[in-house]
Structure formats: structure tokens, C-alpha cells
């Protein structure tokens, strides 16, 4: 029973981070209709940003997160404004193509700039934990989880309560309607992509604290984000976080009760089943 509780906690903590990874991808996908294959690369860049801020600048990783988010926001903003905006109205799959190309470029440049060495963000408190009734809760993972929930909540409020957020949602519904809203779609697109990139940056920093960063971590993270974003209903922040939790818990339980080599079967099997059985109910939209 204690083991079960421990595994559940592990799954939840991991799932929160998964959810954060997928938030940005879901937002960009849902609003801009861009399936961003470079999302994992943006997470990777965020990880490096926090890594260097911590090791070279001596800034605590959690304090460095907002800085990394700003950097990634600017990067994403410019990328959308001056490159992706050029093609957003062509076939949807084209955005897939171009972000794939960007992913290749980012990964290569990262290797050139940062080398293929493994980097870990290792503040003194990483690895310390607290014991609650026999269940070990690691501080860093807990903090990462809380940050993920916090950012999801902020995103939700931003989309729901602010004028810009509403403009973004209107854009998701209908570009023409958004124009009537009096927004400049070029700016809104850039803003949305920037926000997605900023969220990826935060996820990257946290990922570096609990795992490690190399130029090549992106592919797996893109795939995970893709799955979770779909499970959670794209630009629905709460849904995406729930999707992350679902995946995190499913993976942890599978590793314990079935076999660790089965985790992929379960997580992707779950995905297919959910899609085939009940598309409309589970997903935000179908």
C-alpha cells in the first residue's frame, strides 16, 4: 500500500511536468493550428538557458526560470513574426514541415554551441526530500510540479480574463472574427507562439533540474507533448495538465505492476483507446 502511494506520488509529480511540457504545444496547436515539431527543441533551449544562468550566473534555477521564459518568449515571438507567419495560411502540414526543419537546425546549433555533454542543473537542494507517512516526496520534483500547476493556472486566467487572452482565443475560433475584435493577427500569432515557447522554456529548466539536458532530448519530449496536448484538448490549460497527470500516473503504475518495458505500450495504447472509444467526451474538442 505504501509502495502504491509512493508510485502514485511519483506519477503525479512527473505528470505535472509532462503537462507543462505540453501546455505550450497545445496552445500553439489549438490557436495557430501549427503542430510544432520544434517544441522539444525549445524545451531543450530553455534547459540550457537555465543551466547557464545557474552555473555561470549563479542564479538559483527557480529564479532563473522567469528569465529563461522571457528569452524563449522573445525567440518564439521573432520566429513566428518573421518566419512562420510567412506560411501559416498554406496547407496545415506545411507548418509540420517547417518546424521539423527548424528542429534539425536548433539541435545542430545546440550541439555546436553547448557540445553533446550531459548537463544537469544541480542546486544543493536537488535530491533532498521529505518523508510523509512513509512516502518520499522530493523537493525539486514537488517544486517543479507546483510551478507547472501555477503556470497552467496563469495561462488559464490569461486566456480567460485578459483582453489579449480573449483575442487569442477568438483567433483560435476564427481568424476573421478575430480581426473584428480589432486585433492585429500578426501580432497575436507572434504573441501566442512566444507564449508557447516561454512555457517550453520553463519546462526545459525544470526538466534540467530533475533530469538532464543534451541537444538531443527534444525528440522524445516533442512526442510526449504531442500525445498529452491531444489528450488534454490542445488550448485548454487545465485539460492539458490533467492529460499530463494521466500519462504520468499510467506510466508509473505500469512500470510497477506490469513491467518497466511496457510503459510505452500502455501510454500509447491508452492514447489510441481513448481516441477510438470516446473522442468527443475526453477531448476538449473533436
Amino acid at each position: 500500500m505504501q509502495l502504491f502511494a509512493q508510485i502514485l506520488v511519483n506519477g503525479i509529480l512527473l505528470g505535472g511536468l509532462y503537462g507543462l511540457m505540453a501546455l505550450g504545444m497545445g496552445l500553439v496547436w489549438g490557436v495557430l493550428n501549427i503542430v510544432n515539431l520544434a517544441h522539444g527543441a525549445l524545451i531543450m533551449l530553455g534547459g540550457y538557458a537555465v543551466y547557464y544562468l545557474y552555473t555561470k550566473g549563479g542564479i538559483d534555477p527557480f529564479a532563473a526560470l522567469p528569465i529563461a521564459m522571457v528569452l524563449l518568449f522573445l525567440f518564439g515571438y521573432l520566429l513566428q513574426r518573421f518566419l512562420l507567419n510567412l506560411i501559416v495560411r498554406s496547407a496545415q502540414l506545411n507548418t509540420l514541415l517547417i518546424t521539423f526543419g527548424l528542429d534539425v537546425v536548433f539541435v545542430y546549433l545546440a550541439q555546436l554551441l553547448f557540445s553533446a555533454d550531459f548537463r544537469t542543473i544541480n542546486p544543493p537542494y536537488a535530491g533532498s526530500n521529505i518523508d510523509v507517512g512513509g512516502v518520499t516526496i522530493p523537493y525539486a520534483q514537488l517544486a517543479a510540479f507546483l510551478v507547472a500547476i501555477f503556470l497552467a493556472a496563469i495561462l488559464f486566467l490569461f486566456l480567460d480574463r485578459t483582453r489579449t487572452g480573449r483575442a487569442i482565443r477568438a483567433t483560435a475560433q476564427n481568424l476573421t472574427a478575430a480581426r473584428l475584435y480589432g486585433v492585429n493577427p500578426r501580432r497575436i500569432y507572434a504573441l501566442t507562439f512566444g507564449t508557447g515557447a516561454a512555457l517550453a522554456g520553463a519546462a526545459g529548466g525544470l526538466y534540467g533540474v530533475v533530469s538532464q539536458i543534451t541537444p538531443y532530448i527534444g525528440v522524445t519530449l516533442t512526442a510526449k507533448s504531442f500525445v498529452i496536448a491531444i489528450l488534454g484538448g490542445l488550448d485548454k490549460p487545465i485539460g492539458v495538465i490533467l492529460g499530463g497527470l494521466l500519462l504520468g500516473i499510467a506510466e508509473a503504475m505500469t512500470a510497477l505492476y506490469l513491467d518497466p518495458t511496457f510503459t510505452d505500450i500502455i501510454s500509447f495504447g491508452l492514447l489510441v483507446l481513448v481516441l477510438v472509444a470516446k473522442p468527443a467526451q475526453i477531448l476538449g474538442r473533436a
Partner: protein
């Protein structure tokens, strides 16, 4: 004109068939790979380009073909021909079985379901002892690259022939109607379920045979390389690069991209992937409708083609 075109194509096919007899082994190796990838791309074109179902799981057919062949040869010691058939049957059977539930999904949901299926199959194979678990299987070594090349060429010609047939047949018209508007297609008398599953099975057929040929050629397979998920992205990208829903676009797209990446990999080696990435980014910006459209458009309106596209697709 039409006859001239046919003659040109026949000449091209003969020229390609002659490659192993005149060219270097390297080119033949490259050719085998490029032909197989082109076949995969053409397979994707059937389900993605014609039917409008953006599969991200065609690697599952390739992988099943690979494993069907490998299991038959490495575990059961059957001849290659039997293995190839086994692989093809496995791939098509999978398409028929899973096509019905997943083809009910549309757009990105279909895409992700296929992606999920491919990942599940890869993970499942990695736990089956008979399939060599995650360690893989070793096939007997066969020194016959000419045979592999010609087989791959035949397969590609067959796939392209099938697509050409689609472009003029009733079946193909049905697929295109589904791509354009599935609800409308249904009330116009098209058995959409059967057509979609048929298209997927065709794609599966060619993809799994390509996998089978590749398995025997490369002699060692494991789940990671047989169900390589990046293969899906490559198929999509090559189709889009050439021109989806056309007969020769996907072939052209995959030849050009294969050649570019191969030349880069052997000439500039370590910066190859950087260039490859840039090529793709620039291609999307300057020819968002594919190579074929670029050729036609450029002939028609010269450099204005780029400006026209830019205006049309920018925000």
C-alpha cells in the same frame, strides 16, 4: 504528346534499371535506399495525399514487413520470397484490422492515433521473444545488391503505377472526394469506410514490402530501426516537398531530399544535418505547394511565382 510522355517514362525506368550495371556500388546502395524511401513516400501519398488522412504511423507497416520477413528468415529459416509475402500479409492484415476503428477519426486525431499505434507495435515487438525482443534479429548475409536494387525499383514502379491508376480511376476519385469533404462524399454514394480502409491497405502493402526488402538487405533489425518514428516524418515531408496528391511529386520529392541529405552526409559530413534543416525551412517558405507546383508555376509566371505564393500564404 501522351505517347511521348509514356516513352519518356519508359526510358527513365529502363535507365534506372540499368544503374546497377553501370554505376558504382555506392550509388547502388544509395539507390536501394532512395527507392525504398520513395516507395514509402508513395505509400503515404495514397492515404495522406489522395485520401487526406495524415497518417503518422505508416512506419508500423514498414516495421511489420521488416519483422515478417526477418522472423520468417531468421527464426523459421524460410526463403526470402516467403518472408516477403509474410511481411506483406502482416502489414495488410494490420491495416484491415485497425483501419476501421482509427479511420473513424479525422485530422490530427487520426494522425495521433496512427502515431500511437506505431509506438505500441514497436513496444510490443520489443517484448516478444520470438521476434528477438529489443535485441533484434540477424538475417543471413546475401551479396546481391543488384537484386535488392531491382526489387526496390519494381516495387516503386508498382507503387507509382498504382497511384497513376488512382489518379484516373473511380476508386481514386472516391478517395479524393473523401479528402475534400467526407460527409458530402458519403451522400454521393461513396462507401467511405471501405474506400479509406482500402487506401490504408494499399499504403500498407507497399510499405511492408519495402520493409521486407530493407530487412534482408541490411541483415540486422531491431525495433528501434524497424519502427523508426522519424520515418513517418520523413514520408510526410518528402510527399509535401514534391507535391501531395500527385503521381510523381512524392517520388521526385523523396529522390531530391534523399540525394541532398546523402550528398551532404558524405561531402560536408558533420554540418550535413544543419544544411538539411535549412533546405527544408527554405523549401517551405519558397515552394509551399511542392516541387511540381514550383516547376509549373515558375514556367508560367517566372519569379513572380514566389511573390504570389508569399502574398497568398502569409498572414
Amino acid at each position: 504528346m501522351k505517347n511521348l510522355q509514356r516513352a519518356g517514362l519508359a526510358l527513365l525506368a529502363v535507365g534506372l534499371a540499368a544503374v546497377p550495371f553501370v554505376a558504382s556500388d555506392t550509388l547502388v546502395q544509395f539507390g536501394i535506399n532512395a527507392l525504398l524511401v520513395a516507395t514509402l513516400t508513395q505509400g503515404w501519398n495514397i492515404i495522406g495525399g489522395f485520401t487526406g488522412y495524415p497518417s503518422f504511423g505508416n512506419s508500423v507497416f514498414y516495421g511489420l514487413g521488416t519483422y515478417g520477413t526477418a522472423i520468417a528468415m531468421a527464426q523459421l529459416h524460410l526463403p526470402f520470397g516467403v518472408g516477403l509475402v509474410a511481411g506483406g500479409v502482416l502489414g495488410v492484415a494490420f491495416a484491415l484490422l485497425f483501419g476501421i476503428p482509427i479511420l473513424r477519426l479525422r485530422g490530427p486525431y487520426f494522425a495521433i492515433a496512427t502515431l500511437g499505434l506505431a509506438a505500441v507495435m514497436s513496444a510490443i515487438v520489443a517484448t516478444i521473444g520470438f521476434a528477438g525482443k529489443n535485441i533484434g534479429l540477424i538475417l543471413p548475409l546475401f551479396r546481391g545488391d543488384t537484386l535488392f536494387y531491382e526489387l526496390s525499383l519494381v516495387l516503386l514502379v508498382a507503387a507509382t503505377g498504382t497511384v497513376a491508376w488512382l489518379a484516373r480511376s473511380r476508386f481514386g476519385a472516391g478517395l479524393v472526394a473523401i479528402r475534400e469533404d467526407e460527409d458530402a462524399a458519403q451522400v454521393m454514394g461513396i462507401n467511405t469506410t471501405m474506400y479509406k480502409v482500402g487506401a490504408l491497405a494499399l499504403a500498407a502493402f507497399f510499405s511492408s514490402l519495402a520493409g521486407g526488402i530493407h530487412a534482408y538487405w541490411i541483415t540486422f533489425i531491431d525495433p528501434g530501426s524497424a519502427f523508426d518514428p522519424t520515418l513517418n516524418v520523413r514520408m510526410v515531408i518528402m510527399t509535401l516537398f514534391g507535391g501531395p496528391g500527385t503521381i510523381f511529386g512524392p517520388v521526385l520529392g523523396s529522390f531530391v531530399l534523399s540525394a541532398v541529405s546523402e550528398v551532404l552526409a558524405s561531402k560536408v559530413s558533420t554540418v550535413a544535418s544543419l544544411f538539411y534543416g535549412f533546405v527544408i525551412v527554405l523549401a517551405v517558405v519558397f515552394m509551399p505547394k511542392g516541387l511540381l507546383d514550383l516547376f509549373q508555376g515558375f514556367r508560367h509566371s517566372g519569379f513572380r511565382y514566389f511573390a504570389q505564393n508569399m502574398r497568398r500564404f502569409r498572414l
